[in-house]
Amino acid sequence: MGLVQSLVRIARLRSPWLFHLNTGGCNGCDIEFSACLTPRYDVEQAGVLLVGSPRHADILCVTGPVTRNTRAALEAIYAQVPDPKVVVALGNCPASGDVFLGSPVIEGPLGRVLPVDIFVPGCPPRPGDLIRGVAQAVAVLAGRRTGHPSAAKGAKS
């Protein structure tokens, strides 16, 4: 049993699959996110794959301040990611609401809707920061590290 569990832990470290969701951001973080897949950064050498379906994913990368329109989609997609899963907040918007905070059409920041494990601040964060965030998320997946304290408490709503 111990062997199987350690094999699974190694596998989770080596094969993180990301699902990327924009909840009404300005697309800046998304462009930096796509840069990770290019030859310069090539996250696939660490086993990272960008998948098109939340059911295939391990890590949910959210950009944007969570507008009222996207909240239902965000919650549905979070529910479709099979356990174990980790939520990464990319950029300032999902972390704090950034310049959109206080707007009547914003339901965020993301911490109010979902339990967020890893925050990657920046407007937008550089690809290197995103890769570091993914590495932290992978450590959470494999149980080597705990997520942000707010994730342990669960979504506040």
Binding site: R12, T38, D42, Q45, G47, V51, D58, A79, P82, D83
Partner: protein
């Protein structure tokens, strides 16, 4: 065939013990070569194995019982069909199969694609349904030249046993027939330029979009086994055997990998076609070549008839 031989073929060579690591190796090779040709480093060789283990360890999301049975059963059926098809391959010239195993092989090769069509509709997702429809259309498209080529080979060897066809002396029929089978490989493996049914960035993963965890792991494995079966079939039909088992196994594995390299070059160098373009290609060029093979196979008979 004795039970021992059947067991060996199913579980040792060219069955499970050989095919599963080989499937992972081929999946990795394809990803790695594509990455290298795009100027990236690409995943390490153990990547498909760890992907499989990770997916197996994920908690599936519960569905209604009817859906759950279908969605678990279909990928399993695809994997087992792949293994049976492998066991039928005539790798050794001495290992006589049985009369008509060609028909069985052709049927089992088609099962994973049929499972993908059913799975796309069973998952009730719009992407799955679009993918399933495309897979069904393409299956009609490529099976016409593929089956014609197989019929030509069987006709020229006067046998429906794979071992006889593989051991038959090289004739003028074999070149166009094997070329047709090679032409059908990229569309059967759903790689560029014929990655129409699982078109990523377009319909996500096509039929597999709604599958997660262990079900997705089984799809990946079934896809890997398809690589092993189809490249293996082309190698078995296209090359003469030496008779020494060790050399035969090495030739079989090595040439399968060479085919994977060539297919990866094709996949990395081309862009996706539309369904109609793919259909036109197979019905024009594939079918033309296959008909040429069939006519060549029937020539001796026609000559006799005229005389």
């Amino acid at each position: 065939m004795s039970w021992g031989k059947i067991f060996t073929a199913l579980f040792i060579f060219p069955g499970m013990l050989y095919a599963v690591p080989m499937a992972w190796l081929m999946l990795w090779l394809e990803r790695k070569l594509r990455a290298r040709m795009q100027g990236r480093i690409g995943p390490p060789f153990y990547q498909p194995f760890f992907d499989f283990v990770k997916l197996m360890a994920k908690k599936p999301i519960l569905r209604s019982r009817a859906d759950a049975i279908l969605m678990t059963g279909l990928p399993l059926l695809a994997v087992s069909a792949g293994l049976v098809a492998l066991a039928l391959l005539p790798v050794f010239p001495g290992s006589r199969g049985f009369a008509g195993d060609l028909v069985l092989l052709v049927a089992f090769i088609e099962v994973p694609s049929l499972c993908a069509v059913l799975a796309g509709f069973a998952s009730r997702s719009i992407f799955g349904q679009v993918g399933a429809t495309r897979e069904a259309v393409l299956s009609i498209t490529y099976n016409l030249p593929f089956l014609t080529a197989v019929v030509a080979l069987a006709y020229s060897a006067h046998s429906l046993a794979l071992a006889d066809i593989a051991a038959a002396p090289a004739t003028w029929v074999r070149a166009p027939a094997v070329t047709t089978i090679l032409l059908c490989l990229p569309v059967k493996l759903r790689i560029n330029p014929f990655s129409v049914s699982n078109a990523e960035q377009e319909i996500y993963s096509g039929p597999a979009t709604e599958f997660g965890g262990s079900q997705l792991a089984m799809w990946e494995l079934a896809h890997g086994l398809e690589w092993v079966v189809l490249t293996g079939l082309a190698v078995c039909l296209g090359l003469p055997r030496t008779g020494a088992p060790v050399i035969d196994i090495a030739l079989f594995a090595g040439l399968s990998l060479v085919l994977v390299v060539l297919l990866s070059f094709l996949a990395a160098g081309t862009a996706r076609l539309k369904v109609a373009q793919a259909a036109r290609f197979y019905w024009r060029w594939g079918m033309g070549l296959a008909l040429a093979a069939l006519i060549l196979a029937m020539l001796p008979g026609i000559e006799r008839f005229i005389r």
